[in-house]
Subunit: 494 residues, 2 copies
């Protein structure tokens, strides 16, 4: 695909188009598969790959990898880097980090500033990291037309033809007489009206009328245009962004820029800009789309069996219909369920009717208030070098399975409050312990005393697996002093 009408073109998309993947979302609605620190974009939904990798592949049809920006936060950036490792050289400097979530308007403004610095004529394609889109060609065509309208300073959104009377989305009504451009079968219109989430009766009316579209949360515009429109409609936010632009240009430290960003109000780009702007345009699209906003919405994107069930993992089912069952490591037996959701993960299980799936976020909120770790992250935690899984913890001990990718290496580190025992169960380990360096093979073990600098490395070609038994008075992940690190994480300076 190439954007027709764009001034510069090259294979794999135009170098003036900058996709911005919005990847700062939290993970409450797909709990317990998603977690606060493991949001929906990291799940495999509607495909073999994670949503964020599906999104990356999708935008690579429109622009080169080096143009792709990732809008996220520090907590999630590490996991996303692992996800997007295939493109790491191209995008290593393309992370636009929010120090704190401020909804889409400030995050988009921050990305726009970054794009302007790279290319004053830059076009932005804003896409959420965690939506499912089916139909790559249709997507690229829609982006092509939208980009053409963006060149004329429109703020272009993609409208989705409703297929049910959904009350959870905003709607857009285009002005059918104000055609702004055409491409193949596609047409771009001025927007007549943005509508907030409707009640059920209104949603039915919108569906029947055929003249309302779902607001997909995907946009195309010039970086310069969106900043102008923010200035026009949100002067307070514009002021914050002006300061940030100035600080960036003068090479100010990140911490200072972050402090200024925290002063921005929380605001969505829809409420804050699109609904107020005279430049809003819409392209009704022909690709299939879902924001997979809850367990129930899996119906739209996942394959069902004859009984209408979506079954994953070791499920033994008798007579269930129209239900969703996710089994992770355990066997899950279901009998006679109807329109139910069952999600079983190593540390948390959810059971509810599809009709109540929206209330999962209430459960997550209760767990958060209880300080329960199950709202925050999984027992398996991804790291740049591999992953670890907490098998069990109790007073004074923790047992982990640690995997290290071929060539991977943990930081050179020490712990003040815990000793560690390592037993190799697969692969080969290279161990630094104090002054010694030695290799361990399957069935061999070593002990790392408290306060001893140590490092674990996989010098082989297969994944290294070890069992780590920790003992100590305090076993938090923050009892770590790093001396050297391959992945740019903070180390002690001597």
């Amino acid at each position: 695909m190439a954007i027709r009408g764009g001034r510069t073109q090259e294979s794999g998309g135009t170098s003036r188009l900058y996709p911005v993947i919005m990847a700062g979302g939290s993970g409450t609605r797909f709990w317990p598969l998603s977690r606060h620190l493991f949001p929906k974009q990291l799940l495999r939904i509607g495909g073999e790959d994670t949503l964020i990798r599906q999104t990356m592949r999708r935008v690579l049809g429109c622009a080169p990898a080096r143009n792709v920006l990732i809008s996220t936060n520090g907590l999630q950036a590490e996991l996303i880097r692992v996800q997007l490792a295939d493109w790491k050289d191209d995008i290593k400097d393309n992370y636009v980090l929010e120090p704190e979530g401020r909804n889409t308007a400030p995050a988009i403004a921050l990305a726009a500033i970054e794009i302007l610095a790279r290319n004053p004529d830059g076009l932005m394609l804003v896409v959420p990291a965690d939506h499912v889109v089916t139909g790559q060609r249709a997507f690229e065509a829609a982006v092509s037309l939208a980009a053409r309208l963006a060149e004329e300073d429109y703020l272009v959104t993609f409208g989705i033809k409703p297929i049910r009377p959904e009350t959870g989305y905003g709607y857009i009504k285009p002005n059918g007489k104000a055609v702004l451009g055409r491409l193949g079968g596609l047409c771009g219109y001025r927007v007549r009206q943005f509508v907030e989430k409707p009640d059920a009766a209104t949603a039915v009316r919108y569906l029947k009328s055929g003249s309302y579209y779902w607001n997909s949360g995907m946009f195309v515009w010039k970086a310069a245009t969106i900043l102008e429109e923010i200035r026009r409609n949100q002067p307070a936010l514009a002021k914050v962004m002006d300061r940030i632009q100035h600080l960036k240009a003068s090479g100010a430290p990140t911490s200072l820029i972050d402090d200024v960003y925290r002063g921005a109000v929380s605001l969505s780009i829809d409420n804050g800009v699109m609904e107020r702007s005279s430049k809003a345009a819409m392209v009704p699209v022909s690709f299939r789309w879902s924001d997979v906003g809850s367990w129930g919405s899996l119906d739209e994107v996942a394959r069902k069996n004859r009984a209408g069930n979506i079954l994953n993992g070791r499920v033994v089912d008798l007579d269930s219909t129209d239900s969703i069952v996710y089994a992770d490591r355990r066997v899950v037996a279901t009998i006679g369920l109807k329109d139910m959701v069952v999600v079983d993960t190593p540390d948390a299980t959810l059971v509810c009717p599809k009709s109540r799936a929206q209330d999962v976020k209430k459960v997550v909120e209760i767990l958060r208030q209880q300080g329960a770790p199950e709202h925050l992250e999984h027992v398996t935690v991804q790291r740049p070098w591999g992953s670890y899984t907490v098998l069990e913890e109790g007073p004074g001990f923790k047992v982990k399975r640690v995997t290290v990718n071929p060539g991977g290496r943990l930081s050179l580190q020490l712990h003040h409050k815990r000793s560690e025992h390592w037993v190799v169960i697969a692969g080969r380990a290279r161990v630094t312990r104090g002054e010694e360096i030695f290799d361990l093979r399957v069935g061999q073990s070593t002990a790392i005393p408290v306060e001893t600098p140590h490092r674990l490395e996989n010098p082989g070609h297969e994944t290294l697996h070890i069992i780590e038994v920790q003992n100590g008075s305090y076993l938090g992940e923050d009892d770590i002093v790093r001396f050297k690190d391959d992945y740019g994480r903070k180390v002690e300076r001597s």
Copy 2:
């Protein structure tokens, strides 16, 4: 309580009454909380204690501990010995083991032979190990009256007043005119009719009529009488039992007796004897009873909250009603359930409507056919010296947490195909490794190579916990050669 009318009496019950706890049942109906090797009698239901311990305490109101026989099989005897350790000196020789399950008639005959050998006038009180009875005094009173009728050679069963039109039980109609005896408010009758499990309409009629009782599966009779009635009604079984009686008297080896027992037909005492005998009598009882035959029957015995839910463990519930939720180690979130059963265990989860709870056994059968370990036993396995829990297993490795009771000691053993690493996480370990004996404290570890004789012991006063990492080409529990054992398990002879 003392059996009035019995010839010999003493505090704690008559020494002529021999309770026989029927503890050979398998664990399919309460899966995944029960397993083939961890049946329902080992569950805590309807009380703080396990069902078999509740049963033991109940019969101790009627007879001394040394009279209590346990009818079970070799697979389950070890777990039951752990359960009944409080009385181990009294009952250590009271296990009557079936080499293979043959239903209740042969098992009861075997116990009767054992009782006859101890006391030719012995009375038997047969009670399943896994029923719930509420009302100890009423139970003891019923046994007293039944024992008096048993002295007159009646085969006495306890009848339960129906509280619902149950189709899963057999029913008994007493002959209200044939009163055989009275005690306090209780009355014993001849039985007019035994009825097989009725259909729904018939069950409703029985309930309304007020003249039918549930067959509780508890019996009182003389050991001599039941053997006579077996001889009269089941000559083939009687022949097998005569041979066994003869072999026992002549001190024949157990293996020979077991072979003869295997020749017995599978037969229930109800079908085989009670329904055919002219001596059948019934005492309608006033205690509350449940055979807790499925998850749904918990409604009868467990405490419910205001919404009618039975919630155990870390359950976060929103708006559910009349549901049963068991959480073991994980958090279980339930939203808007109605009349549902959710049971979450470390390796298996069940979700079904209460109305389908009977079909759990179909799930277990599917898992058995698949060769799935989840039908057989839990990840935590009780042993005479403590327990072990499989935390994780994979190709070539297994990780266990092992607990050893104070003073407990595993057998002196070796493995041909696996090495083991032990890390102490609580308590103190005494380790025998080849010729060495040494102690390990928290945070210390050792490695046991393949083919090395070793032993783990807890010399302290607190429970010892270790993490054991096994490596090897084969990790089955049967790769074990025992040289010495404190618990009477088979050892190698040199």
